[in-house]
Symmetry: C2
Subunit: 188 residues, 2 copies
């Protein structure tokens, strides 16, 4: 029985989401795994948008419960941070002790992106912490994301890859995704 991998990431929001997810699924199979993608199951309509959203949440959690692992696309989404849905899913899978892997299609690390958010206006306070003009501290741990996400994967021995994707393929470039597959396959 091949190990089942849940493919998490904001590519579900792309206009060509189905094509991108199908390509990811095909590559996942090529590396000996069985892909599970959000959106694989058509969800019946619900009386309200809100109830429909709850249904999707339930279906996606069921998929994660059935999966043996996750590859999370942490590429910054509508800002400097990973899609919160993907962050939630990575935490969910870490808590279940499953195989975890993560990638991002931007090579600037978490600190660099946060520093850019403050246009470089970062100062070191008396407590030794770096802070933006709003007083909020910046994590500077040479990680691709907030330490809970990066640390959750690395501490479990999971692979993490960062790749500089062309801007027009920010969510659909699969170079780093394939690196994750290769790393997981070499351990499986």
């Amino acid at each position: 029985m091949p190990l089942k991998l849940y493919l998490a990431g904001p590519e579900v929001f792309l206009p060509d989401a189905r094509e991108v997810l199908d390509t990811k699924a095909e590559m996942t199979r090529a590396y000996g795994f069985e892909p599970i993608c959000p959106g694989d199951i058509s969800i019946e309509p619900a009386p309200t948008l809100h109830e429909f959203g709850l249904k999707i949440s339930g279906v996606d959690e069921d998929m994660m419960n059935r999966a043996d692992g996750v590859i999370a696309n942490l590429t910054p989404f509508r800002g400097i941070a990973a899609d919160p849905g993907t962050a939630f899913e990575l935490g969910y899978m870490c808590a279940q002790g499953k195989l975890v892997a993560a990638y991002t299609n931007i090579v600037d690390n978490h600190f660099a992106r946060t520093s850019d958010f403050y246009q470089g206006q970062v100062t070191e306070g008396e407590d030794g912490r770096k802070r933006g003009p709003d007083g909020l501290s910046l994590e500077d741990f040479d990680m691709i994301e907030n330490l809970m996400l990066h640390g959750g994967v690395e501490r479990r021995g999971g692979p993490i890859f960062a790749h500089r994707a062309p801007a027009d393929r920010l969510y659909s470039d699969l170079t780093a995704f394939e690196q994750c597959l290769k790393a997981l396959a070499s351990k499986a």
Copy 2:
């Protein structure tokens, strides 16, 4: 034995993080729970910043493993979405089947914030999905956050509160936090 609640949120980045967390801890005790806060334990230095970050990740996960539940502050952080670390932690606790609650100090819902991100340039495509000028679809489910976060809490019967906090108390206003405590206490 009082139930232990992990207090997750981006207030750990505030200049007065300790004071805010102490106030939250005190309120948590007043409602009959035992608080567990990230940052409660002083972490020994590590040879590199990266290793220090990994240590914090481990300590915070241990705290979540010891906790019976979580109250997650999902107030948008450095953009339109929740802090990804908090999103990870909420997913982690949902996966463990623990008590979950969430609040936000901004009343605009997820759709409204995403629409603002696109300055209202949102159109409905042939597939019936609303999209920004970049083609990415918007979730419109009358939820405070991405459906995995909001749905994960609501589907478990957890309370969710949104409160309009003054701008200078965006992360430290505890009105909605207290509503969560009250709701959890009434069920416990």
